[in-house]
């Protein structure tokens, strides 16, 4: 009896402890709003990237983001890789040639500039982090290579951030010379709203709205961060089917072997 009481006491203490924890959660969540959940073509175990969306997203990145945000881990040739935006080798050569790559040193020891080739990676807009900070009022624009995996909420967060700007901060909130964004932790973001309706000229008839730009560029960044996603899911499906088959066979084998044994 005494022991039962002690047990109950323990359970109560435990419950109170966990309850306190729950209160804490609510308190801590007041910071930024949770990102908007978007129904992405690539979510779920059979999700695939939408090639046209990735191509549009690349266009948005190139025209609206690339001036400040590099993508130093992605190579131009990746744009033609299977499971990606699906550009052709020829298109990739044209895209690459648009960029200027610093190469060298040449025979005289000087660095020189040449047009990009498919083997090159996206050049960073700033020579180093200090230059990036100096040109952007102290806030370094992050590299975009893995940004979709480097933010809690992933593409939902990126999309929400793009559409989460407010012209005027709510009453009583001072963001200084920064901008108010519903989804940015702390709400005061150094980046000016980067997307505007009609700001990027789509050629496939997709409505040219901030909402579409935000979705397309988020999808593109997901691909940039996880270029092997389609291969991963495809192989994963095969592996799991195989394992289920093997487990069934092993189950019957094991049962056969143990059939005469009491255990």
């Amino acid at each position: 009896m005494i022991k039962t009481l002690r047990l109950r006491a323990l359970a109560t203490v435990l419950g109170v402890a966990l309850g306190l924890g729950a209160v804490g959660v609510v308190h801590a969540a007041g910071e930024a709003e949770p990102p908007i959940a978007v129904d992405w073509s690539f979510s779920g175990p059979f999700g695939r990237f939408d090639r046209a969306q990735l191509q549009r997203g690349f266009q948005v990145y190139k025209e609206s983001c690339a001036a400040c945000h590099g993508m130093e881990l992605v190579a131009f040739r990746n744009l033609a890789d299977p499971g990606g935006p699906g550009f052709t080798e020829e298109q990739v050569k044209v895209i690459a040639a648009d960029y200027t790559i610093e190469d060298g040193p040449d025979d005289l020891g000087d660095m020189f500039e040449r047009p990009g080739e498919p083997k090159d990676r996206f050049p960073s807009p700033f020579p180093n982090e200090n230059a990036a900070a100096a040109a952007n009022g102290g806030a370094v624009p992050p590299d975009f290579s893995v940004i979709a995996k480097a933010r809690a909420g992933g593409t939902d967060y990126i999309y929400s951030l793009m559409v989460g700007y407010e012209d005027e901060p709510p009453a009583g909130v001072d963001v200084g010379d920064k901008y108010y964004n519903h989804y940015f932790p702390g709400h005061a973001i150094a980046m000016a709203p980067p997307l505007f309706d009609e700001g990027v000229e789509y050629t496939d008839g997709t409505p040219m709205t901030v909402d579409n730009y935000a979705k397309d560029v988020s999808a593109f960044l997901m691909w940039a961060a996880e270029p092997k996603m389609e291969e991963r899911k495809r192989i994963g499906f095969q592996v799991i089917i195989y394992l289920i088959l093997l487990s069934a066979l092993l189950y019957f084998t094991k049962r056969k072997i143990w059939s005469a044994i009491d255990h």
């Binding site: 190579a75 040739r77 890789d81 498919p118 195989y242 084998t253 059939s259």
Partner: protein, 180 residues
């Protein structure tokens, strides 16, 4: 399986069906092991970034007769030599019967400029880099194990089995060549 038989599980009545199950299970498991082995082997093959670097463009306009340059291609040196007329004549004068790896000089020199020779500068014996304008034939000489190449880069004497390799290349302009 012998252990199963010895432990009286009473399954001896239907040996065929039981064995079929065991063999199937074993075979499916073996397929899995094989499938796992492939990524572990394939990862050591050249990766995508290495394969993307498989060509290099070189400006050959400034190489005077009797001069050579070396460029790096796929991690190996490529010799580009603008040979003198004497060297070309010497190479052409050799009867094919004297060559361990018979090849005419025309087959080896660049098609539009018979004096220009582009070769992978790696000894076909064990991979050392031969020295230029050296050896008994005044071509290339590999100091590692004493292979002598002539002025066309053909093996003449020593342990190397083949002529110096000619890489794939294309002329983009008169003075620019892309190797690979």
């Amino acid at each position: 399986m012998s252990a199963t038989d010895s432990t009286a599980d009473g399954a001896g009545q239907e040996p065929t069906r039981r064995d079929f199950l065991y063999v199937t299970t074993g075979a499916v498991a073996a397929v899995g092991v094989g499938a796992v082995a492939w990524p572990l082997i394939h990862q050591m093959n050249p990766d995508a970034s290495t394969k993307a670097l498989a060509s290099v463009e070189v400006d050959i306009g400034a190489i005077e007769p009797g001069q050579s340059i070396r460029v790096m291609w796929r991690g190996k040196p490529v010799f580009i030599r603008n040979r003198t007329d004497e060297e070309v004549e010497a190479a052409k004068a050799v009867p094919l019967d004297d060559l361990p790896d018979p090849q005419t000089d025309e087959e080896r020199a660049t098609p539009d400029n018979g004096n220009l020779l582009i070769m992978v500068g790696v000894c076909t014996h064990l991979g050392c880099i031969p020295l230029g304008e050296a050896g008994e034939y005044n071509g290339w000489f590999c100091p590692c194990h004493g292979s002598h190449y002539d002025t066309s880069g053909r093996i003449r004497k020593g342990p190397a089995p083949a002529n110096l390799e000619i890489p794939e290349y294309t002329f983009l302009t008169d003075t620019t060549v892309r190797i690979g």
